[in-house]
């Protein structure tokens, strides 16, 4: 085999391995949750199951899980029984591509879909207390489990779109996400330490917000920080980015409800 042909072979092999074998921007050994940069007091607050204010939403989510809603008169538990068993690990796989719906769904999107289609109830507003509570409750069942989204098949194009969003300059400051969260994580931005930008604690309680918030709220805050246009909650661009972020954080443990500054 000529050297040239061999190179083509190697090229084809690399292409067929696809993104699952692709280099992660941050090597797995260097992955660090935002908790590592948040300070000891914030970590202590997150680690205390009672003092962690996010647990108020988890508790509320547990009650909502059993509460019948909508014309169908069904609760989440009517179909999914005990979330502690049935939802264990579910959050690690989101966002995922729903072939039937033909779109990418994050956890909020899946809960909304269940609510309107199965429970026949009015949709919950993105960022409403109820949706945050249910999302936090479901995600909390995967606490400590590694994030493991699939980017194969139809999810692939969303993943690529997310990567493009992540690496494209936005706003008046003309920054990409990578400028902070890859080139400068661990360094200071005024009083704050720049994190690696992972979504593993969300929905998370941010002390700045004084409430629980979704990953999309955090993304909006990032875009506002670089003086870029904030997209609406649940925007397709955010979903694509959420998938890219989840792939980028593969192996990192879910911390919902996390506490951040």
């Amino acid at each position: 085999m000529s050297r040239c042909a061999r190179a083509v072979c190697v090229g084809a092999l690399v292409a067929s391995l696809g993104a699952s074998a692709q280099e992660r921007p941050i090597p797995p050994a260097q992955l660090q949750s935002g908790a590592a940069f948040a300070g000891a007091q914030v970590r202590a607050l997150q680690g205390d199951d009672f003092a962690n204010p996010g647990m108020l939403w988890v508790d509320r989510g547990e009650r909502l899980w059993r509460e019948p809603a909508g014309a169908a008169g069904r609760s989440c538990a009517s179909c999914h029984q005990d979330a502690r068993a049935t939802m264990k690990g579910a959050a690690t796989r989101y966002p995922l591509f729903d072939a039937k719906a033909g779109r990418l769904l994050n956890l909020e999107g899946r809960i909304s879909q269940c609510r309107t289609e199965r429970q026949e109830a009015p949709p919950l507003q993105y960022e409403s207390d109820e949706l945050l509570a249910l999302t936090a409750y479901v995600a909390h069942q995967s606490y400590g489990m590694p994030m493991a989204v699939s980017i194969d098949g139809p999810a692939r194009q969303h993943f690529e779109a997310g990567r493009v969003f992540y690496t494209t300059r936005h706003g008046q400051m003309n920054l990409t996400c990578a400028h902070c969260h890859e080139a400068n994580w661990g360094r200071k931005l005024a009083a704050e330490t720049i994190s690696q930008g992972h979504g593993n604690p969300y929905p998370a309680y941010r002390l700045e917000w004084q409430t629980l918030g979704s990953l999309h709220r955090r993304l909006r805050a990032c875009l506002s920080g670089i003086r870029a246009e904030m997209l609406p909650y649940g925007a397709p661009e955010y979903l694509d980015l959420e998938l890219y972020l989840a792939w980028r954080a593969a192996g990192l443990a879910i911390e919902t409800p996390g506490v951040r500054r």
């Binding site: 009672f50 647990m55 004084q210």
Partner: protein, 108 residues
């Protein structure tokens, strides 16, 4: 809807033992210093009083103001005396009331 809260009281304790009681309440604790998107002042609304009774006797009272964070979390110690119930009651500036109860079994 009743105000969302969490209470932590040890399920069992020995008589004379100091036990930690914890309570967290979901509440915005609106300071009165903020303005909404169109510039109107958002009226102050904080939980101004929280009382804890142990078998009917008041053992803890907190009078809170606008300096307390949202979703207040309080912790205090009480000497376990008899089996029974801790009863928490609180009220905010708008007159919304909340309550929570937790049982304890005291031995010895």
């Amino acid at each position: 809807m009743a105000m969302n809260s969490r209470v932590q009281v040890p399920a069992a304790a020995k008589r004379g033992e100091a036990i930690e009681i914890r309570i967290a309440i979901q509440h915005p604790m609106e300071t009165g210093f903020r303005y909404d998107a169109v510039g109107h002042s958002i009226p102050k609304n904080v939980i101004n009083e929280l009382v804890c009774r142990y078998n009917g006797q008041e053992v803890f009272r907190a009078e809170m103001g606008s300096g307390i964070s949202a979703n207040p979390y309080l912790s205090f110690f009480v000497v376990a005396q008899a089996s029974g119930e801790f009863d928490f009651r609180w009220v905010d500036d708008q007159g919304n009331r909340g309550e929570a109860q937790a049982a304890i079994r005291v031995s010895g």
